[in-house]
């Protein structure tokens, strides 16, 4: 079969083909189809590895999560025993559980970094508004994975952290109570809540994430990469998606797996004491990513609590989503977007200060 000819070539060198020919080739010879896809040369630039690592981490989480699901039993008590068994008795269970634990945290860290870099580069601006919004949606989805996943081991930290989160959600006006009842299946965190969190964690949220990733990649492919931070245009030579970009992703996957496996070997994934719903003396400590929100809840109390639990986080989300339409700066370079850069820097500073305050409050050295 004669290979189809491109009908056009984009500014950054990528070739476009007739869509019906592409579909036929994708079905008849997927490798030939893959080999024909070209992407901007910047896809393999040294400083553009974060997106690839994020993809590697998502794949890693899906795979390690599937392994953990083989052993997991979503019943209070038995859930703890099954995680304990996975950690200490199942072959490679400790490594895979650790990989799952650290990969989530690394994913969140790098997703924040990815977002920050995209912001600094001005890559949220026209024509990449939907690339940005889908990215923000992905970032917003990640804490939901952590929140639902935290309860699954049925240990003290997960159980009591869930109590705190549920009470925060319940304080949201109008929808709070209903949201808690839908999430937990009732007022108490028991077997129904555990089952729902499990189903959300392994079914609904992964499907939603896969969908959002597909949307995100579609817009990345459609609108290409943003200008480099140094102001130069993206590399003008196109490169083959397969095998070049795929190989790079595989290398990133192997490196990421190896590093996280080493990390988990020396610092195994923590498993606390089994959950004891009668032990009200247990005070859960917030994770790093929620310290600033926790501090907001601590600052705004009583009738003002809604500011910390709903209004400020809601405004922050709206700001991120609406940023492409709010920013009227004359250009994409940071120097041309001083107002937005300064506003974001102030916002980031407030979040860091709140996080540090929360850190010292919860993890500071105990008083002698």
């Amino acid at each position: 079969m004669k290979p189809p000819e491109p009908i056009t070539t984009t500014k950054d060198g990528r070739q476009r083909f007739r869509s019906d020919e592409t579909k036929t080739l994708a079905l008849n010879d997927p490798f030939a189809w893959l080999k024909r896809i070209t992407v901007a040369g910047d896809a393999c630039a040294w400083n553009r590895f974060v997106g690839g690592v994020l993809l590697a981490l998502v794949v890693l989480l899906f795979l390690s999560g599937a392994f953990l699901a083989f052993y997991y039993s979503p019943v209070p008590g038995a859930a703890y025993d099954s995680v304990d068994f996975t950690l200490f008795s199942a072959p490679f269970g400790s490594i895979l559980k650790g990989v799952h634990h650290y990969a989530w945290n690394l994913l969140l860290v790098l997703a924040i970094f990815h977002l920050a870099r995209t912001f600094v580069a001005g890559a949220y601006r026209k024509p990449r508004q939907l690339t940005w919004i889908s990215g923000v949606a992905i970032l917003g989805l990640l804490p939901l994975f952590i929140i639902t996943g935290d309860l699954l081991p049925w240990d003290q930290r997960g159980y009591w952290s869930t109590q705190v989160r549920m009470s925060i959600i319940a304080s949201i006006p109008f929808a709070g109570d209903m949201a808690v009842r839908i999430l937990q299946g009732g007022a108490l965190t028991g077997i129904v809540a555990l089952t729902r969190f499990y189903v959300l964690h392994i079914l609904f949220l992964p499907c939603l994430l896969a969908l959002l990733l597909a949307v995100h990649f579609y817009f990345v492919a459609r609108h290409g990469f943003a200008e480099r931070l140094n102001g130069k245009q993206a590399a003008d030579h196109p490169i083959a998606f397969f095998p070049r970009v795929v190989n790079r992703w595989l290398v990133l996957f192997i490196v990421t797996v190896s590093l996280i496996a080493l990390l988990t070997y020396y610092w195994p994934s923590p498993l606390g004491d089994p959950a004891d719903p009668t032990d009200s003396t247990y005070v859960p400590k917030p994770e790093w990513w929620v310290l600033f929100l926790n501090q907001l809840v601590a600052i705004f109390k009583g009738k003002w609590a809604v500011l910390g639990t709903a209004v400020i986080p809601g405004l922050l989300t709206l700001f991120l989503v609406g940023l492409p339409y709010l920013d009227r700066s004359p250009g994409n370079r940071p120097a041309q977007r001083k107002t937005v850069i300064v506003a974001a820097a102030l916002l980031a500073a407030v979040m860091i200060v709140l996080s540090l305050m929360g850190y010292f409050e919860h993890f500071g050295l105990p008083r002698q």
Partner: protein, 328 residues
């Protein structure tokens, strides 16, 4: 902004975020006392071996229960481990050495039991998870009143058969002279039966008394000697020959420690009473491969609780809060 400045910011932010990731491992809640078992190359040769200096002692507080209510005790506790075994060292103040355990005394005409019990320390680990043991310790283990029909086996146990505990029971009079701590385990308590069981094998102690319970039946066998604190071991005893003459003040052990064999003899003990206090070392294989023993995996943490008995029976004790054993 200059390219170099942006690059610098890029890496600084990335490193800060990765540092945050490492902080995540420290997220824990309520604090329990943690006993860190130090890894050592050679097993401690005894109570005073310098290798014990490699472990950090924790001071475990105990609260008195029943007639000891309101009183407190403290046990300095250390642990070390090798590739094969784990070793515990306990030190506590006790002004009186109590090893009588109702020993027989002859007054010139008849035998009678002396008043007095023994000093003891016990540890309870989980073999299989005991519901809420991690937060409530021994308090969660079912206790039944003294004299109840199911108190025969030691008046306590677990609520379900799936929950199993490993009870290490060092007794100054009934196990220590034989060089062991009694190795027992806990299972479900029922209306008729207690939940405390002896591990498989032989051990424990043998009552030294005649059929009518009025006098001792055994004495020291010729060529044998009494064990520590003048305790008569069952293995060193012989039936008192007819016509044996005793003089007033003669004493004989009532509860003779038996030689421990099999799973029941897994926990070896060494002790010394000096200067108004006990020093006790207990050690056991990390994994005995016995179903009635907790198997220690050095990568995980174990909850355990302790009880202390000062010249007292099960009705009076000092109990510790639940602790965590961690292998470093």
């Amino acid at each position: 902004m200059h390219r170099q400045s942006l690059k610098r910011i890029y890496w600084m932010v990335l490193l800060m975020l990765l540092a945050v990731l490492l902080m995540n491992g420290t997220v824990f809640g309520a604090s329990k006392q943690v006993l860190e078992a130090a890894k050592v190359k050679a097993a401690p040769a005894g109570l005073e071996d310098a290798i014990w200096n490699e472990a950090t002692a924790i001071q475990v507080p105990f609260e008195g229960k029943e007639s000891f209510a309101g009183q407190k005790a403290v046990v300095a506790t250390k642990a070390v481990y090798t590739d094969e075994a784990v070793y515990f060292l306990f030190k506590w103040k006790d002004p009186t050495l109590s090893v009588v355990k109702e020993a027989w005394q002859f007054d010139g005409e008849k035998w009678s039991h002396q008043k007095g019990n023994e000093d003891r320390i016990s540890l309870l680990f989980e073999i299989n998870r005991i519901n809420n043991f991690a937060t409530k310790g021994c308090a969660i283990v079912c206790h039944v009143p003294q004299g109840a029909p199911n108190a025969k086996d030691g008046k306590f146990g677990t609520t379900t058969a799936a929950e199993k505990g490993d009870l290490w029971h060092w007794k100054a009079a009934r196990s220590d002279p034989a060089g062991v701590a009694d190795d027992t385990w806990l299972t479900q308590i029922s209306d008729k039966e207690g939940g405390r069981k002896s591990d498989a094998g032989k051990g424990g102690d043998q009552k030294n008394m005649t059929e009518d319970k009025s006098a001792p039946k055994y004495m020291l066998a010729p060529g044998k000697s009494l064990a520590k604190n003048d305790i008569l071991l069952a293995a060193h005893s012989v039936e008192i020959p007819a016509g044996t003459v005793f003089k007033a003040g003669d004493m004989l052990t009532y509860r003779m420690p038996k030689t421990a064999e099999g799973s029941r003899g897994d926990i070896k003990a060494e002790s010394r009473y000096a200067g108004g206090g006990w020093t006790v070392m207990l050690h056991r294989s990390l994994d005995t491969d016995n179903e009635d023993d907790v198997a220690f995996n050095t990568r995980r943490k174990y909850n355990f609780a302790m009880a202390l008995f000062d010249d007292s029976g099960d009705e009076n004790s000092y109990d510790s809060e639940v602790l965590t054993l961690e292998f470093k």
